[in-house]
């Protein structure tokens, strides 16, 4: 019977995933603060700093990158960190705590579908927020379109994969929704510092720079900055992002509980 039934279920799963992603997207925009934080804050940063005279000139303190491009790169890092370390674990923690995942277990569809929908949503939000940032920045605020576009796309995708995996891991190990968001926040601020969001990594000591290289957000921001200026991501940054994505996702998959 199960052999007979399974193709039917399999055929229905993509439809369920699509429907759930649509619903989760609608719910995402019903929380007014969240889309504003993810989609608008980075753009406002670029707009604000872009209006400072002389900020668009290449700076020796930023390895030759202009201030506005540096700010735009930070914008991408903020999007990755907010979605991966805050929104994803908090949402999943809440869904587990409220029994939303438990209720899905009682249907022919697995609660994994909701996880998939959330990942598609936050992945999509990353792409939209990044495009918005590049578009607005290049249309009049002194930010060039990333000079190595393919490398830039690779950096954003791998960065998102790494940060979202870490977010999944946080949701998997935290016992409650509050725990999820607390752990997420505890990682969030050191990550932002180590990545060089608060002060450029050029001001770091060599040791701190090495540490920054192996953090997911540090590797992502470095790769985004490199590709913006036209080079390819450094292999160590690629390896760091791929490593975090794989290891965190694997551990999360093994430890995640539906209830």
């Amino acid at each position: 019977m199960s052999v007979l039934e399974s193709p039917v279920t399999r055929r229905r799963s993509p439809r369920a995933l699509a429907a759930m992603t649509r619903t989760e997207t609608r719910l995402f925009f019903r929380e007014p603060l969240v889309p504003a934080l993810v989609l608008l804050l980075p753009v406002l940063l670029v707009v604000g700093f872009g209006m400072i005279p002389g900020f668009g000139d290449p700076s020796s303190d930023l390895s030759g990158q202009s201030g506005t491009e540096y700010i735009a790169s930070i914008g991408v890092a903020i999007v990755l960190a907010v979605l991966g370390l805050s929104i994803l674990p908090t949402t999943l923690g809440t869904y587990r705590e409220r029994g939303v995942l438990r209720r899905l277990r009682a249907t022919p569809v697995t609660p994994g579908t909701l996880l998939g929908a959330q990942l598609l949503l936050v992945g999509g939000a990353t792409i939209v927020a990044t495009l918005l940032l590049v578009l607005v920045g290049s249309l009049g605020f002194g930010v060039a379109v990333p000079r190595n576009l393919a490398g830039f796309a690779l950096a954003v995708v791998l960065g998102a994969a790494a940060l979202l995996s870490v977010g999944l891991l946080v949701a998997a190990v935290a016992p409650t929704a509050k725990g999820s968001s607390a752990i997420g926040m505890t990682i969030f601020f050191p990550s932002m510092f180590l990545a060089g969001v608060y002060v450029p990594r050029e001001t770091f000591s060599p040791i701190l720079q090495h540490v920054s290289d192996v953090t997911p957000l540090g590797a992502a921001l470095a790769a985004v900055r490199d590709t913006w200026q036209g080079s390819w991501p450094h292999p160590i940054h690629l390896a760091t992002m791929v490593g975090w994505a794989l290891v965190a996702a694997l551990v999360a998959a093994r430890t995640f509980r539906w209830e």
């Binding site: 007979l4 039934e5 229905r12 619903t23 609608r26 019903r30 409220r98 209720r103 022919p108």
Partner: protein
């Protein structure tokens, strides 16, 4: 025909024995009750039937299928209302039903369910703005969305006010009348007495009795109590000598008579002959509470201490 067959289920969580040899059948079209105090093993039993938990040993067939191996196929045909499950705070009633409808092969039309469960006016209301009763009705509608042959209702009236409970009971009867087999988990005696065709009483992981509510009550011993307040004085010997009376006690102005058989008729007859007027005459009906005491030697309320066992169980899971 048996819709559910359960044979010798055993389940432990660490040192705690949750189920200790549970066996029963559920027949097509009946409302079957699982009654017992917290921690008795009701929810564990139901979760095994739903395929959400695996027993340590024993066999389970639901609609002829193994719930663990045929989970998705089974969940297509079984509706579930879970204890402690909620939906996304901002999802609207209509959205939730439409979303869940996509999970089933042949779902009921959403509009039909909205009308049936009195939710049509709430179609655009977010989940968290619904009252407890409305949330409960939404979960019932969700449970019936896939045209199930069998539904599980776990503590269906928890947190509802008395009027909403009555309403929910009517809805359960409607579901039964439409030919769906219902398994009702409850720790409320009156609910089970009101709704169930047959009841299994669970205590400490074992089934201590399984019968119709009427038979369980009748089997709980034949002593009954009668209370009244005499207007004026009565002599002690007047009632004590009535056949069937075993004890007469006084509590303030009230007289409490305990007896067996048809003693009540004898007592009222004796009072009438002695021309004693009585007020507030009450014959206390035996309930499943009495059956539970008779079966386990403990009253249902006494078992509330087991609540912390339930928490330990949760922790052990």
């Amino acid at each position: 025909m048996a819709v559910i067959e359960v044979h010798e289920l055993h389940k432990r969580y660490g040192e705690t024995v949750a189920l200790d040899g549970v066996s029963f059948d559920v027949r097509a079209g009946e409302v079957f009750g699982l009654l017992g105090p917290n921690g008795a093993g009701k929810t564990t039993t139901v979760e095994i039937l739903e395929g959400l938990r695996t027993p340590d040993s024993g066999t389970v067939r639901v609609l002829g299928l193994d719930p663990v191996r045929s989970g998705p196929a089974l969940r297509e045909r079984v509706g579930v209302q879970l204890q402690q499950a909620q939906l996304q705070e901002k999802i609207r009633v209509g959205e939730a039903l439409e979303l869940y409808a996509g999970f089933y092969r042949n779902p009921r039309p959403v509009d039909e369910l909205l009308d049936e469960w009195g939710l049509a006016a709430k179609r655009n209301t977010p989940f968290k703005k619904l009252s407890g009763g409305q949330q409960q009705r939404l979960f019932l509608a969700l449970a019936l969305l896939g045209r199930p042959e069998l539904v599980f209702f776990d503590e269906i009236t928890t947190g509802l006010d008395p009027a909403a409970r009555r309403q929910t009971w009517d809805l359960v009867r409607r579901i039964r009348d439409s030919g769906v087999t219902v398994v009702l988990v409850s720790h409320l005696m009156d609910e089970v007495e009101e709704l169930c065709d047959r009841v299994a009483i669970l205590d400490r992981g074992r089934i201590v009795a399984l019968d119709t509510p009427t038979a369980l009550i009748a089997g709980s011993g034949n002593e009954q109590r009668m209370r009244f307040r005499p207007v004026g004085a009565i002599s002690a010997g007047l009632i004590e000598d009535v056949p069937g009376v075993t004890a007469v006690t006084r509590s303030g102005s009230q007289v409490i008579v305990t007896g067996a058989g048809d003693f009540a008729t004898g007592v009222t007859g004796a009072l009438a002959r002695a021309q004693v007027l009585v007020a507030d005459l009450r014959l206390e009906q035996r309930t499943l509470d009495d059956a539970f005491v008779a079966l386990t030697g403990r009253s249902f309320e006494d078992t509330d201490e087991t609540t912390h066992d339930e928490k330990e169980l949760e922790a052990a899971r």
